[in-house]
Amino acid sequence: MYDFLIAPFVEFGFMQRALAGSLMLALGACPVGVFLMLRRMSLTGDAMAHAILPGAAAGFLLYGLQIVPMTIGGLIAGVIVALGAGAVSRFTVQREDASMAAFYLISLALGVLIVSLRGSSVDLMHVLFGTVLALNDDALTLIALISGITLFTLAIFWRALVAECLDPLFLRSVSRLGTPVHFIFLGLVVLNLVGGFQALGTLLSVGLMMLPAAAARFWTARVEPMCALAFGFGSVSCVAGLLVSYHASLPSGPAIILSAGAIYLASILFGTRGVFNTKLRRHRHRTA
């Protein structure tokens, strides 16, 4: 048991780093994912993940496989797409889903183009799917910074974010924070996706954001426990994914996301608000 669960993390430095990095990622990304889901923007996260690619690729083109330029490039690309899509939906007749799709597709094509200008397909795979087992000090520092900023920002704007989700018109009638808080939140989404792409890749980093959140929805009817639970599920996925990847020699990023997927599927079935409890089980009912 010890050999299976603990030893890999004790014996190998790269496993410790991978665990630390992915847990810190989960700490910031999972609560953000809960709000993405509650704002019915789950697919926006996916679109943003694609949108980050050309920025990361441009950093890669200029400086090679280095975390800081690639992160900054990804941030810039993500912010441009988020603001562009948001602006188009606010100032034209087009809705945000369509403008977001348009912007991220342009961005994705541009990104693939840039990567292929210089790199081999191995590099492309690296950018798309990440390497959690090769996190260096820079990457760990960056992830720590991002999850710190995320938690701090969420704590500050928590009340406004909840109000903006629950009753946006009310928030507008008592405060001007509605629109800023929406963009701050989009900024957090971009930040966490960028933080995740070194470890999990641009395509899979959104998985650690959305899957634990979606799973947590089946267990509780309040926001605060939902965020905590999502982080719990995210952490379990990281540990399980790394162990599976270690013992079965599988790529670690997909293993982590698939673990989260397994938790999600189990939650659909067995969650307190899942299928078995709400649909299949015969309920006794009270008189009032």
Binding site: L38, R159, L166, L169, F170, S173, S175, T220
Partner: protein, 277 residues
Amino acid sequence: MTDACLTFKDLTLGYNSHPAVHHLNGSIRTGSLTAVVGANGSGKSTLMKGIVGVLKPMAGSCTLAPGKRIAYLPQQSELDRSFPSRVVDLVSLGLWPRRGLLGRYTKEDREAVGHALMAVGLEGFEKRPIDTLSGGQLQRALFARVLVQDADIILLDEPFNAVDAKTVGDLIRLIKRWHGENRTVMVVAHDLELVRAHFPDTLLLARQPIAWGETIETLRPENLLRARRFDEAWHDDAPWCEPEPGHAHAHGHDDHHHHEHGEVHGHPDHESGPRAA
């Protein structure tokens, strides 16, 4: 007028350059209880949005007396009922004007929320998820939020829709309590009997104000007839409404005068905008 709580000066509100409220002049007295009535599309909700400030005026202005706070209960709430939230969380949103983004909720705040829930007959509902409430219960919860907001000006847009008779009675009692506390209350309503029974003042809208003043005077049959004849549709070929030089002021918008006599506020000779023939 010293006790004006809200002042409209030539206020025009609308969408896509079509006016929904056209050249409204006048003021709302502090502590008054005013019903806003009119046909569908006559600009009642638009006026509410203009007062709260979620809709910017196309022309003119709506001035709030300094230091006054507004609580607004919209007709079509953008409330997301699927959001995981309890009744007590929803009602606590009303603490925003007092506590803002970061202020800690005190024991008194929680008591205020409890009292508000009690006042609307929802004691014991604190922990209920909002997606389990009936329409009337939700409406009462929203009234509780307005109570918690503790505002000087209270705007209620069709609060009696889809609410049973007993609840209407409860809500009317709350409105009268606010009136008694010298708060300024404006309520959009359709039930003229209800308005006649409970509201001292009435504003009758048909894009332009038809009549405004004491309810009995305002709701006279000839006024209601004129309000009914109003042309609800927009016309893309409607002429632009140009301020005639000196006209707007020469018209002598003596707000006070108009208000007290419940006189017609519109511009009977105003040739602009879509109008009934």
